[in-house]
């Protein structure tokens, strides 16, 4: 909807800026949560930064590998500030791997660390939804509801806004739950469950879904998997904590 902002002679890319804002606020919440749990903030912040940098570098490297002859002839293009030449899935995998290795080296406890990161992740999802709203990605199917938005030549469900609203609710739930005496991993897995439920519902209103098996939306299948995994995970973690007491 608002991909660029004109400020005099500068055109600011709004989605990128929103994502940057999301990283900044997410980092802040993660540090706050670490402090509240009397855990050192440096390793937590380090983990996030390592994950992000490795993720972005990995996304560019894997993209370049796919088109190796192009980048061989034009090596300067490797450092171009172009988000279109990043491989998202490979980048995410690289980032997560790097973060995990970093966490292991700093001897961070897995589930407690994930819990500490969760408020940051939850707030980032809000910014991510708003960035999509600005860029027009993740758009909705054409509709006649009175709150439809005009996008890509049709009146559509404002699915990016549905996402932003749901993610705000999830953040509120996470915010309240984190203080409760539960068990390590509870907050993180509960977040995965709630976020996936939202994705499952909202994906049904999207106009850009990847279809598998003829009529099924790929995003919904993934969400169902995550919902099942997190329901099981909550049970296992609850029992594990029970045995430890």
């Amino acid at each position: 909807m608002f991909p660029t902002l004109q400020l005099g002679s500068f055109a600011i890319q709004v989605p990128g800026l929103v994502l940057l804002g999301g990283v900044w606020v997410g980092l802040g919440l993660a540090s706050r949560e670490a402090r509240r749990q009397h855990v050192a903030t440096d390793p937590v912040e380090g983990l996030i930064l390592v994950g992000l940098i490795a993720g972005i570098l990995g996304a560019r490297v894997w993209y370049a590998v796919r088109f190796i002859d192009v980048y061989f002839e034009n090596p300067l293009a490797l450092i171009a500030l172009n988000p279109a030449t990043l491989a998202p899935l490979e980048g995410a995998a690289t980032g997560l791997l790097a973060a995990w290795v970093y966490g292991q080296r700093k001897k961070l406890p897995l589930w407690q660390t994930l819990d500490i990161l969760t408020p940051g992740l939850a707030v980032f999802m809000i910014f991510f939804s708003l960035a999509n709203f600005a860029s027009g990605d993740a758009f909705g199917a054409a509709t006649e509801v009175s709150w439809g938005i005009h996008l890509w030549g049709a009146v559509r469900h404002p699915t990016q806004l549905y996402s932003a609203v749901w993610s705000s609710g999830v953040l509120a739930a996470v915010w309240l739950l984190r203080r409760e005496p539960t068990f390590p991993g509870f907050v993180f897995v509960a977040w995965v469950l709630l976020a996936s439920m939202g994705r499952l519902v909202i994906e049904g209103f999207r106009g850009d879904s990847q279809i598998v098996l003829g009529v099924l939306r790929g995003g919904q299948l993934l969400s169902m998997l995550l919902i099942a995994a997190s329901l099981l995970g909550l049970h296992i973690l609850a029992l594990r904590a029970d045995n430890r007491d």
Binding site: A141, P181, L200, I211
Partner: protein, 197 residues
């Protein structure tokens, strides 16, 4: 007290295998029902792509009345190569290129090629369009844009404008102005059609 709300109420349910299993089953079942209810055929969604009347983007979808009666929906034609030609009866280059389009239509229709001649009826007239088609002996589908909505969606600037759409619904070539030569139309369509068996 909110301090023990979750621990007191939720966690015993999470620990109890039977209760949690039944709850999980109910959630997953509701999920399956929703997935089924919101299922959509592949041609009604864009598979991650953004619709825009430009080369490399998914052709914006529309449903319009046909001159001969009935309707046509662009996304229903996925799997075929589509030549979308925007025209009006008073436009001379449109008139000049119609025979070429008809020839290519005749030649490749059996291989999965079709034409939608989109008449800009909002700035023309249904009667004039009908007479034009009859006079030129054209046999491909003619759609009527009575309100100008679809022409707007395709950012129509000059007549004629032609969009060559591949089997996945992606616009591969845009030609503004005319008349197009038969060679141009044929070569573009040939390139988009699947290999002949």
């Amino acid at each position: 007290m909110s301090k023990t709300y979750v621990s007191g109420k939720l966690i015993p349910h999470i620990r109890d295998p039977l209760r949690w299993f039944l709850f999980s089953l109910a959630v997953l079942l509701a999920g399956v029902v929703w997935v089924w209810a919101s299922a959509a055929p592949a041609n009604s969604v864009t598979g991650g792509r953004i619709p825009s009347p430009r080369e490399g983007f998914v052709a914006p979808d529309f449903t319009l009345e046909l001159l001969d009666g009935g309707e046509v929906t662009l996304s229903d034609l996925r799997g075929q190569v589509v030549l979308l030609n925007l025209w009006a009866s008073w436009c001379p280059p449109c008139r000049e290129e119609m025979p070429a389009i008809q020839n290519v239509y005749n030649r490749y229709q059996a291989r999965g090629f079709t034409v939608i001649a989109l008449n800009t009826t909002y700035q023309d007239g249904e009667r004039e369009a009908s007479e034009f088609i009859e006079e030129m002996g054209l046999s491909f589908p003619v759609a009527l844009d009575r309100t100008g909505e679809v022409s707007r969606r395709y950012l129509l600037r000059a007549l004629p404008t032609t969009f060559f759409i591949d089997t996945e619904g992606v616009i591969q070539k845009v030609v503004v102005g005319g008349p197009m030569s038969e060679a141009l139309i044929r070569s573009t369509v040939e390139a988009l059609l699947p290999e002949e068996e």
